[in-house]
């Protein structure tokens, strides 16, 4: 067990180092940030001062050595645009993104599980077919376009909801939360629904497949034979069993929610790290892009590590086959 965890840890560390090199080298192909940052009428002296100030006059390997040294101290460089530490810039935006992703995840479960259950129980009726066909539409909806349609309907035509931004927030433990403020809810609902729509379809399909399989199992037949009410069979026996894969998949999907938040945040001008990334790409703000990438790769490596360890605890075959190969 210990050997397995150590080997996985080593792999994660290797992945992070490889990503650091890759990210650093590739980021230098993006373009010249000096062109973007300086006003068009800047003279030669101002240019050179700016280049020196940002450390862009040193050879590439020196810049990389500098980068690694600072990385080990948790310093990912100063943003070219904001002038502040890029890692704390990203971390400052992290709560907004996490809040959005978590609310979307909960929405997906709350809407998806009942619909999938109904579709599975009534798979041969029109309602079952309707739910499953709708779920294909949900799968196919381009996320950003759905967001635009929502803005058009609820913000422009009906004027019920604000078209974007985070709105007022309340502070808890020094972190701002929209959920604590009633007005924050109003701002959160459209972005969260947009981010959730794809996962709703995913949950519907998982719940549908799970229910159809569970209906054929012996334990359901036995529960029926025992004379249990159908609401108890569905609510306790079937629901509990289909929840296992759904919870696993939703946990894994948290990472992809954070990635997809890039799109949603751009549409709704939500001040999360995805919006920051897109803005930074447009402004060639290298340190922020690097900091975002390193943070996300670390996050994914952590999620994958946890899942692997969890699986190996639950299912010993995973680590045994690993040891043999």
């Amino acid at each position: 067990m210990l050997a397995f965890i150590l080997r996985r840890l080593g792999q994660s560390a290797f992945l992070l180092i490889a990503m650091a090199v890759l990210v650093f080298v590739s980021i230098f192909a993006i373009g010249d940030p000096i062109e973007v940052l300086l006003p068009a009428d800047a003279d030669q002296n101002e240019r050179e001062a700016a280049i020196r100030h940002l450390g862009l006059d040193q050879p590439l390997w020196m810049q990389f050595a500098h980068f690694v040294w600072n990385l080990l101290h948790g310093d990912l460089g100063k943003s070219f645009v904001f002038g502040s530490d890029s890692l704390s810039l990203i971390l400052g935006r992290l709560p907004a993104t996490l809040e959005l992703a978590l609310v979307a995840l909960i929405l997906a479960a709350l809407i998806g599980i009942p619909l999938g259950l109904i579709a599975g129980l009534k798979s041969q009726t029109w309602i079952g077919r309707l739910i499953m066909t709708t779920s294909i539409v949900g799968f196919s909806l381009p996320n950003f376009w759905f967001g635009i349609v929502m803005i058009l309907v609820f913000a422009v035509q009906l004027q019920w909801l604000p078209s974007g931004g985070r709105g007022p927030t309340d502070t808890l433990f020094g972190i701002e939360f929209s959920l604590l403020n009633p007005q924050g809810w109003v701002n959160l609902i459209m972005p969260a629904a947009t981010l959730a729509i794809y996962k709703v379809s995913l949950v519907i399909r998982l719940a549908y497949a799970g229910t159809r399989e569970a209906l054929l199992q012996d334990y359901v037949r036995f529960a029926r034979a025992k004379g249990l009410s159908s609401s108890r069979i569905i609510g306790v026996h079937i629901l509990k069993n289909i929840l296992i894969p759904i919870v696993t998949v939703l946990g894994l999907e948290l990472g992809s929610m954070i990635a997809f938040a890039v799109v949603t945040e751009s549409v709704f001008a939500w001040p999360g790290m995805g919006k920051l990334l897109i803005d930074s790409i447009a402004r060639l703000d290298r340190p922020v892009i690097v900091a975002y990438l390193m943070l996300v790769v670390t996050l994914f490596a952590l999620i994958n590590l946890c899942v692997d360890i969890l699986y190996s605890v639950l299912d010993p075959r995973v680590r045994l086959s690993e040891g043999q190969s």
């Binding site: 192909a29 381009p142 803005i151 913000a155 422009v156």
Partner: protein, 305 residues
């Protein structure tokens, strides 16, 4: 194809038909999928014929007039020209722009999927046939790539490479190949142990012949499903990347870029510049997914009674 033959032996025992006929009959049994297939065909036809059937060439500056800008749907210009779906800020006819955009979207997605299919299938089948270290290295690479969301990989790649149709195709190929590699490997691992492969090996057939003429055709079923779904996915991904400003260049817009362009005018209530391209995008993706979904049911032996 052995997969389709197995799937319909029970149903058409009376008539003697080729496997392809039986497969087609099974496919037609689902009306929704049949309609979806028709829609996909019509859309493909429209996109190919767009230079000839579009009311105007929206990228020929001599054909557009700035005075026609932001016309509402069904409004006529001063010269009496009808704009069925309205026009954008440069006076381009939206219907024509959408036809050209559809062509771009389909071209990028299909090219990228085909390229990814070739790379993924080759690597996957090689991994399955040779096994051992080759297999371990390739599959670890696949695992690694699939643990990151496609949109993130493509976004960063394009941020580094810059805009361009060829770059978008390359990025889409790079995020897709792993799906095919995994699918084909899973199948080939099973097929590899079958007697006909052993027989081919006993005949001392050359290795490439065994792999590509014997092993590969028997792994095609699931690949068709994955490829269909992936084309839809690629269209959606390209549109998203173009919306975020890292996709196709402004001179060769796809549907995603048209939507992105219309996004600026949403708050002033000029809905048609982004809603109509989006509807066309949605129709395309839904139709392809419906076809793929039905194909999956048909080719899945577990759902056969």
């Amino acid at each position: 194809m052995s997969v389709s033959a197995a799937s319909s032996t029970t149903r058409s025992a009376i008539k003697i038909e080729t496997p392809l006929h039986m497969f087609w009959a099974d496919f037609c049994a689902n009306r929704i999928a049949l309609i979806a297939l028709a829609v996909v065909s019509v859309l493909a036809l429209i996109s190919v014929l767009s230079p000839w059937i579009a009311p105007q060439n929206p990228y020929d500056l001599t054909q557009i007039s700035i005075f026609d800008n932001m016309l509402k749907p069904l409004q006529r210009s001063q010269e009496g020209k009808l704009f069925v779906l309205g026009s954008d800020e440069q006076g381009r006819d939206m219907l024509s722009a959408m036809m050209y955009g559809l062509k771009m979207s389909l071209f990028v997605a299909i090219t990228a999927t085909t390229a990814a299919l070739c790379v993924g299938v080759s690597l996957g089948i090689i991994a399955a046939y040779f096994g051992g270290r080759v297999d371990a290295v390739l599959m670890r690479l696949v695992d690694l790539q699939l643990s990151f969301p496609a949109i993130l990989i493509a976004l960063i790649l394009l941020a580094v490479l810059g805009k361009g149709v060829d770059k978008v195709i390359f990025a889409l190929m790079l995020v897709q190949w792993a799906y095919y590699a995994r699918t084909v490997r899973g199948n080939a691992m099973v097929e590899r142990r079958r007697e006909y492969i052993e027989a081919a090996q006993c005949l001392a057939l050359p290795r490439h012949r065994i792999i590509f003429r014997h092993l590969l055709p028997n792994c095609l079923g699931p690949l068709i499903v994955v490829a269909t779904v992936q084309v839809a996915h690629a269209i959606s991904l390209e549109a998203t990347l173009s919306f975020l400003g890292v996709g196709v260049p402004i001179t060769e817009p796809s549907l995603g870029l048209l939507i992105s362009n219309g996004y600026k005018y949403i708050l002033s209530g000029k809905y048609w510049v982004s809603i109509y391209p989006g509807l066309l995008l949605l129709l395309t993706i839904v139709s392809i997914n419906l076809v793929g979904d039905h194909l999956r049911d048909l080719l899945n032996p577990r759902l056969k009674a």
